[in-house]
């Protein structure tokens, strides 16, 4: 068992002011896999004060030198990629065959990207007689979730450090061990003390202490819409800048002239990646009513390919959910779907055969879902696809936009032009057309209740800047 008994504050591993610890559970075995300190508001105070002291000199460090530190972090992470991938598969349950690419490769890419951006960014421009300068926003509080635990951490920490901000990180207490490794990598990379600090603990305790702290200038949060609202509410008291990346209920519109044989399996894959624990998952598949039977068959066949099992088994397509809480919540949603009259095409609320231990859920497909059903409105965060029939393209667009969320989406059509036309009418932050591939440099973030601000690439970097106009 892994025992982590200290926090990373002001360039040193220190004990928490409290003595409580939290258990980290292996999602496939339900056993305690690690313990971590349950940090306190006093710990946050120390971390924020260290970050605040370190800010001026880090902000004044030449940007290319800051970039060089990030490159060292990328190298450090690369050297421990396999170890980190193992840890995340235990924590989150993602099949180990995918973890190294998704959970470690993406963070490495983000670090390298920000290292380069720090060196090449144009920090000032002229507008008439004004010199407009970009400056780091200050001390950043980063609060991150468990589903892509390290990527979500790095999506905040890398651009914040590159921009010249100092950071207090609160990683998810459900999947925190990868963040301890990152802190070790920071230490080895030799970042000045106080530039990066990490305090583990519970959201209502340490997360709220970060949001409330007067010396924190900005909070960048990824997590549930409920928790994000709370963060924003607390940040309002001190007028902190906030970036929020939250829930989704994204629509994947498959139009009459689309290639169903390609579109449906790709849509199922998108919905089931990481056992559906992805905020941008395309969980509502919108299809022409006339093709419903065909789509159901294709979706059921695709779902059958996602064999649940031990994430460390090479043949496993679908790992467990992260926790008992999450599993029970998803089971309840599946039961609700049945009660509300959706047609169960594949899966169901029972544990998959032979997998009573571990937080497993059957890959589930509902059809004949109407957009007012609970399973079409609420984020399930499990491998549950809702197929919703439509009668016209206009209706499909209306259904797609009829949601509180607006994080992601998809459109499949006979031509790119047609698909892009429809994509432009969706009120959502990202749309993949005809299976367009993931682009880590493209801005990612939400319309509506999915959030405020953007992460990744240049847009994500600029979230950590203030703008100052100097008139001459």
């Amino acid at each position: 068992m892994i025992v982590r008994d200290s926090l990373y504050i002001d360039g040193a591993w220190v004990a928490s002011s409290g003595s409580e610890t939290l258990d980290v559970i292996d999602s496939a075995t339900e056993e305690v896999f690690a313990t971590i300190p349950a940090g306190t508001p006093v710990d946050i105070d120390r971390a924020v004060e260290a970050a605040s002291r370190a800010f001026a000199s880090w902000a004044a460090t030449p940007a290319k030198d800051r970039g060089a530190f990030l490159q060292k972090m990328a190298d450090g992470l690369q050297a421990r990629a396999s170890e980190v991938a193992d840890v995340i598969s235990h924590e989150v349950g993602m099949p180990r065959s995918l973890t190294e690419t998704f959970q470690v490769g993406l963070p490495i890419g983000e670090l390298i990207d920000n290292a380069a951006r720090a060196a090449s960014y144009v920090w000032q421009e002229e507008i008439g007689n004004s010199l407009v300068v970009k400056e780091p926003v200050g001390v950043v509080g980063a609060i991150t979730p468990w589903n892509f635990p390290l990527y979500q951490v790095v999506l905040k920490v890398a651009p914040a450090l590159a921009a010249g901000c100092t950071v207090v990180l609160k990683p998810s207490e459900v999947a925190p061990i990868n963040a301890f490794i990152l802190a070790e990598i920071v230490e080895e990379a030799g970042l000045p003390k106080g530039v990066f600090n990490m305090v583990t603990g519970l959201g209502p305790v340490v997360g709220e202490a970060i949001a409330a702290h007067p010396l924190v200038d900005k909070v960048s949060f990824t997590g549930s819409t409920r928790a994000g609202k709370r963060v924003m509410e607390i940040c309002a008291q001190t007028i902190k800048r906030v970036s929020l990346e939250m829930g989704g209920k994204s629509a994947n519109i498959i139009l009459e002239d689309a290639d169903l044989a390609a579109a449906v399996p790709a849509g199922v894959f998108g919905c089931y990646l990481n056992s559906g624990q992805v905020c941008s998952a395309p969980t509502r598949m919108l299809v022409p009513r006339s093709r419903l039977a065909e789509v159901e068959q294709l979706a059921a066949a695709a779902a059958a390919g996602f064999v649940p099992g031990d994430p460390f088994e090479a043949t496993t397509g679908l790992g467990p959910l992260v926790s008992a809480v999450q599993r029970d919540k998803v089971r309840d949603y599946i039961k609700t779907g049945v009660q509300e009259g959706a047609t169960l095409v594949a899966g169901g609320p029972e544990a998959p055969e032979g997998l009573e231990k571990g937080f497993f859920i059957q890959p589930t497909v509902f059809s004949n879902v109407s957009n007012d059903m609970t399973i079409a409105r609420e984020e399930i965060f499990g491998p549950v696809l809702s197929i919703i029939p439509f009668d016209s393209e206009e209706e499909a667009i209306e259904i797609a936009n009829d949601t509180d969320y607006g994080l992601s989406g998809g459109v499949w059509a006979g031509t790119q032009e047609h698909a892009i036309e429809v994509a432009q009418r969706l009120r959502t932050g990202q749309v993949d057309v005809n299976g367009g591939s993931f682009n880590p440099a493209a801005p990612f973030g939400g319309y509506k209740k999915s959030g405020i601000g953007r992460e990744r690439g240049a847009f994500g970097f600029e979230e950590f800047l203030e703008v100052k106009s100097i008139q001459r």
Binding site: G128, N129, E417, E421, Q424, R425
Partner: protein, 214 residues
Amino acid sequence: VKVHDKLFIGGEWVAPASNAVVEVISPHTEEVIARIPEASAADVDRAVAVARSGFDAGEWPQLAPEERIAAVERFANLYLARLGEMAEIITEEMGSPISFSNLGQAPASWMILNFRHRSAATRHQGLAASSAGKGSSTTSKSRRSSPLRSERGRPASSTTSRCLTLEAEGQLLAFLTLIFSHSWIVAPGKRPRRRCYRHAVGSQSATGIKEVRP
């Protein structure tokens, strides 16, 4: 005492939900100079509902950029015709010396109206040019148009060429700002030569503007 008893909602002057009023007090005479409706949550609900449906289902977001630009241009011109009136009202309401209201408070809004629609025009022209370069096929298509399709689908307007370039606009703004601050600091008590100034901005002529220099 000026009495305004209507709110502007959904393109019309409408009676407010309640009879409550707010009195506007002159900061220099302490007299009531106007009465306006004290809108209620019900009025805000109506206004937000029409703004919401105007955005979700209305014409405005779907309009081609040139059409939106033309509307802002009409707005700017109508505003310009009432510049003096606006300056006086602002002075009455919040006490800004009339010299500054004439040279700063009132024309600043006009400048923003102009600046905004011209930069939109410039951006639009850039978009249209890049789309033409790609040989976009979206031009021939359909009735219901998305915002971007409109931008691509229509030829670049001549609005931009009629306007000052952005750079010239920037210089004009900088120049006017200088004049404002100068006249405000140097001659706060003086009546500005408003007629002359109006002529100057009306004709958008740099030489005309120079005439207002104290």
